[in-house]
Amino acid sequence: MKDAFARCHPWLNLVFYLWVMGITIFCMHPVLLGLSGVAACGYLLRLRGWKGLGRGCALALPVMVLSAVINPLFSHQGMTVLGYLPSGNPVTLESLLYGLCTGGMMGVMVLWCITWAQVMTSDKIIYLCGKGFPALSLLISMVLRFLPHFTAQTQRVMEAQRCVGRDMRQGSVWQRLHQGGRVLSILVTWSLETSVDTADSMKARGYGLPGRTQYHRYRWDLRSTLWLAGMMGCGIAVLAGVATKELDMRYAPLWRMNEATVVACVCYGLYGVLCAVPLILNGVEDWKWRYWMCKI
């Protein structure tokens, strides 16, 4: 894996996503949303290039626009009236802003989720689950193993059936359904048969003995502790800002955002740093490489 953040310990990845996504969702603050959005775009660009970023935005932007348009049509709270709908209901600045921010929040979440899929591989999720729910973690791994096995067998059965003139892609709807049912029923038999073998293999290798441990290949080092401490610090500072109303956004009845005081600006900065952790990690790594290459 080329990405420096994805190579970090799974707990670091998880803590990062919990902070960033949590703050994005629960403090729907326009500035924080903006910071989060920019960082998400930047990281997506880093992971998937311009093409990937374009695709991500194509998914996120419509969500944002749609929400900004639809909210004022149905919600009429707020005191700053911009105009009136044909039905006589007012369109207010507050409902427009609220729609825009909700949409923005959803859009940013979409972008983060795309990076999540790339960073949090099945291995990491299995490892993280294993801490609290070892049985669930093994189950995920087995399901992930079984699904491709099952689809491959389905392909083979359909191909074999086509060769004896039972093509699923031809014939009337009834014939296709009928054939599909037959294939499905034999696949169920096949799965049962397979699972007997798998169960034997598990028993033979001692599954069910008390005191099962979990193998993983992640290492927690001092660097991880430092990064964790940094992320926790940034996150807690932003939360403190929110709790003390230094960071505050009200949408109804009259929209009002906190003043850009020194404390607020520091909080913005810290949240920006938090969101940019993957980019910073990658940047530092790139810089080091370039530095050493120059020396050589």
């Binding site: 087995m142 491709p148 083979r156 060769c163 004896v164 073998d197 028993k203 008390p210």
Partner: protein
């Protein structure tokens, strides 16, 4: 004290009259390599499943199995899990998790090992088996041979005292099977690991084994060194599975030490040097005047637009009424060629014709089925019902035939494939050879003129191969054409009329089988390798035996 000691073991499955094992005695000493063989239903799998409590089948049991002098049920499960390693038949189905590294660690996790120990053991296993580069791969992306090697490595990571294997190579192609068996032999020789192996590739395992146990009807028939067992089985149906030099030696009533390998066989055969050459094998029929059924002309194919060409100008003609075998290595394009003939894929350049008509003219299902019958590599994929007879009727019902014709067709097919006693069984319960025949029966119901077979001998023991070969010969005598893709040099040498060798997407050789094998140096049958220099024209065991007896 023997490592494993089976004393007077009798076992019957519930609701079965005849016992699966009766009065079996077997001692396995530390460091021994024991091969257990026998026909299907001889009780060999049932026997070795008694070597591990977790796998012991349910049923009525008398007698006792001792592990290091202790009755097996008194040995605690943790010890059994780590010290008695078990590898089964199906490579894919034994895999539990999704990643190679996780699969290797699975057993160690169960034993409750510390993380550092697991790191070390995985590192050891990965370097011993050469799996370093696979560690991050998904298990389903591995080939069957690689999967089975992974199963072996994951069992070996638990540091077993004895390794028990139940037909581990039956689902592998010959190359992968040989590699796997050599890995077992290496473990036995270098690490002193005790091995109990159930296997039907006897020609490969005889030279490796210290002892061979032959089972029949739940009893131990012979239990002796490979050479003596070879001597004893000379007139037994199992003889077709024994190494080729052994079969030639017994066929020609040889004297002296029985040869087991080609090397020993050549040394023994040297006594016939110079006496030979009055025995000429029968001339092969010229194929040029036979009508052509399948033809590929300058066929090019690739799977992806920017991918490499799998077939590069393939030219191939299959004469009517013959068995044509296309041979070659993995990835050489054999299965791709089959998919083009069956109509699953289309060439991007060149032409495939069936009876002189372009393959494209046969719309939809009209080609697959009526003219061509395709037997897939895994016969299991053809079955959709839970009884063989119902499965056959399922296909027959929709054919445009009268009731009498249908009955007649069914009777003919059942008689041809010898399925009489098996019609009431579940297709999944049949042995490998029986499944192959049931699948072939299903294809034959459509009365195709050309049969396309993909690796038809995969997973079959010697006797089933013989049955299949004779069945194919009968079909060609009735005017059908058989085109198969195969790795199995011995099978093609015995039954094919024409052989083609595919390499790098091109046909590098296409000749009558006899000329083909007599001309090749490495890609040829064991009998030919052995007799080369003495009887250069001999390709099969029968040829060499005939040449030997005639020159005496």
């Amino acid at each position: 004290m023997a490592l494993l000691d089976v004393q007077n073991l009798t076992f019957s499955y519930p609701e079965r009259e005849t016992p699966a094992l009766s009065g079996v005695n077997l001692r396995v000493e530390r460091g021994e390599f024991v091969v257990v063989c026998g026909g299907s239903g001889s009780g060999k799998s049932t026997l070795i499943r008694h070597f591990k409590s977790a796998l012991t089948p349910h049923g009525q049991r008398q007698g006792q199995v001792y592990y290091q002098g202790v009755p097996l049920e008194k040995v605690d499960l943790r010890t059994q899990a780590s010290q008695i390693g078990f590898v089964m038949q199906q490579p894919a189905q034994q895999l539990v998790t999704d990643k190679v590294w996780h699969e290797m660690a699975f057993g160690l996790e169960n034993l409750g090992l510390e993380l550092e120990d697991m790191h070390l053991r995985l590192a050891e296993m990965a370097s011993y088996f050469g799996l370093q580069s696979w560690m991050d791969r998904n298990v389903w992306e591995l080939s069957g041979g690689e999967q089975q090697m992974l199963n072996l490595a994951s069992v070996m990571a638990m540091h077993p005292e004895v390794l028990v294997l139940d037909e581990p190579t039956s689902q592998l192609d010959p190359m992968a099977a040989t590699e796997f068996l050599h890995a077992i032999q290496r473990l036995n020789e270098h690490m002193g690991l005790t091995v109990v192996l159930v296997e039907h590739r006897l020609d490969e395992v005889f030279p490796m084994a210290d002892r061979v146990v032959v089972m029949e009807g739940g009893r131990v028939l012979w239990d002796d060194t490979p050479r003596r067992v070879g001597q004893a089985t000379a007139d037994h149906p199992l003889a077709v599975c024994t190494p080729v030099p052994m079969r030639i030696f017994h066929g020609a009533y040889g004297t002296g030490t029985c040869p087991m390998t080609v090397k020993e066989g050549r040394a023994w055969l040297r006594q016939y040097q110079g006496k030979s050459s009055q025995a000429q094998p029968e001339p092969t029929t010229p194929t040029a005047d036979l009508p052509v059924t399948l033809e590929a002309r300058e066929v090019w194919f690739r799977y992806e637009r920017h991918g490499a060409d799998v077939l590069q100008g393939l030219n191939l003609r299959v004469p009517r009424g013959q068995i044509y075998a296309l041979m070659g290595d993995n990835g050489g394009g054999k299965s791709t060629a089959l998919s083009l003939f069956s109509g699953a894929n289309r060439p991007y350049r060149g032409k495939i014709s069936v009876y002189g008509r372009d393959g494209k003219e046969y719309k939809g299902n009209s080609l697959a089925g009526k003219v061509l019958g395709v037997l897939p590599q895994n016969p299991q994929t053809l079955f959709v019902r839970d009884r063989v007879e119902e499965d056959l009727w399922e296909l027959l019902r929709d054919l445009p035939l009268s009731q009498e014709e249908k009955n007649a067709r069914l009777d003919w097919v059942v008689e041809q494939t010898g399925l009489e006693g098996l019609l009431g069984q579940h297709p999944y319960d049949l042995s490998g050879g029986e499944q192959q025949r049931a699948a072939l029966a299903k294809v034959l119901l459509l009365d195709p003129e050309i049969l396309l077979l993909d690796e038809p001998t995969k997973g079959l023991d010697g006797c089933s191969k013989q049955t299949l070969g004779k069945l194919l010969q009968t079909l060609t005598q009735q005017g059908k054409t058989v085109w198969m893709v195969s790795h199995d040099v011995e099978f093609c040498g015995s039954y094919a009329h024409t052989c083609g060798l595919l390499f790098g997407g091109r046909l590098v050789s296409e000749q009558p089988a006899r000329t083909f094998f007599a001309g090749n140096h490495f890609y040829t049958t064991a009998a030919n390798q052995m007799a080369r220099g003495v009887f250069p024209q001999a390709v099969t065991v029968e040829d060499v035996v005939k040449a030997c007896t005639q020159s005496q």
